[in-house]
Symmetry: C2
Subunit: 198 residues, 2 copies
């Protein structure tokens, strides 16, 4: 390549990122070369800081910059209600609704025997431990209505039967903005079964 | 946002990059969070190094990590033949052919009166200066056959008339792999006019 080594090195590193090939890595590097140095240094610094400081909350396994995440530390939250999510992105989605005021438990995965992901590969035993210790009254399973999500929800509901805790899940139905004619059969079946008074 | 500040900061910075919105910036940040720290530190370091070290070659204005770029310093190159390109990416494309053994001159732009880019905004006077001082015998205009590229080539050819230098340009024709039926009229006209013995 004809680019000087510091530029070639950056392009090699950028090209390794998902969704970036060599062409888009080159375009991005050339863009950064035209930006003010402080802006590029800020990006570099934030990469470093993120990887150094972000870890998992020791209680709910959400991302955190300290031992406990902000949500677990919030005294306004109801610690008896725990919402189980697949990963921090799903947690962000539940939070974005603005209506959930309990705590979370992040599994970091869903059961998928085909991929060798069993209960030990996701944080299920930590959940049982919390149910035992934290006097949790309700476990809300906010798992995707997919094969893996349903399997994981069934598995957790099954083992929680032995505990004095209420297990709930998100309502399944036709999403906002979707035209009824495009709803699949199973979504429609669930939406009908869970129909609500207006 | 529910992400801890170091992660949110990185997402904000990534989302500013061209072609990345908040969603893809989040996906990228979460990907980097799962990578080994050394890999992320290497990316951060290469960003910093690139912006600190890469500058323009004082002779041809190609990217360089020292005062002169590798090409200008190569004693095997013919210093009497100078290829004029729009930007370093175009230079890379000419170099990739492996057949050009002269030096370059990078304009860093093309004339575009509509966008307020006149001769003073691109490195034309530096080119004249080089033609005067470096005993250049041939100036090869490797500019894109676009409106701006053609305008820039005509402008440079015009002012170089007063200098004892040969001005050439890249052949325009049907590109390799293109089906003839898809060639536009002007490309076909040029390809016919410049037809060559087989």
């Amino acid at each position: 390549m004809v680019f000087p080594e510091p530029l070639a090195r950056l392009i090699r590193n950028l090209a390794r990122l998902p969704g970036l090939g060599e062409k888009s890595a080159t375009r991005l590097a050339l863009y950064l070369l035209r930006r003010p140095p402080e802006e590029v240094f800020e990006l570099a610094e934030s990469l470093k800081e993120m990887r150094e400081k972000v870890r998992l909350c020791e209680k709910c396994f959400n991302f955190s910059s300290g031992p406990r995440c902000d949500i677990c530390q919030d005294p306004e939250r109801n610690p008896r209600l725990v919402c189980v999510v697949e990963d921090p992105a799903a947690l962000a989605s539940v939070e974005a609704s603005g209506v959930f005021r309990g705590l979370y438990h992040v599994l970091h995965g869903l059961l998928s025997p085909r991929d060798g992901i069993g209960p030990k590969e996701i944080r299920v035993s930590d959940l049982l431990e919390r149910v035992r210790r934290e006097k949790i009254e309700e476990v809300l399973l906010a798992l995707s209505p997919t094969v893996a999500g349903e399997a994981t929800a069934s598995y957790i509901a099954e083992i929680l039967k032995d505990y004095p805790v209420k297990v709930t899940r998100l309502a399944c139905g036709v999403p906002m903005g979707m035209e009824i004619k495009y709803a699949d059969r199973i979504t429609m079946k669930r939406a009908l079964e869970a129909r609500q008074p207006l």
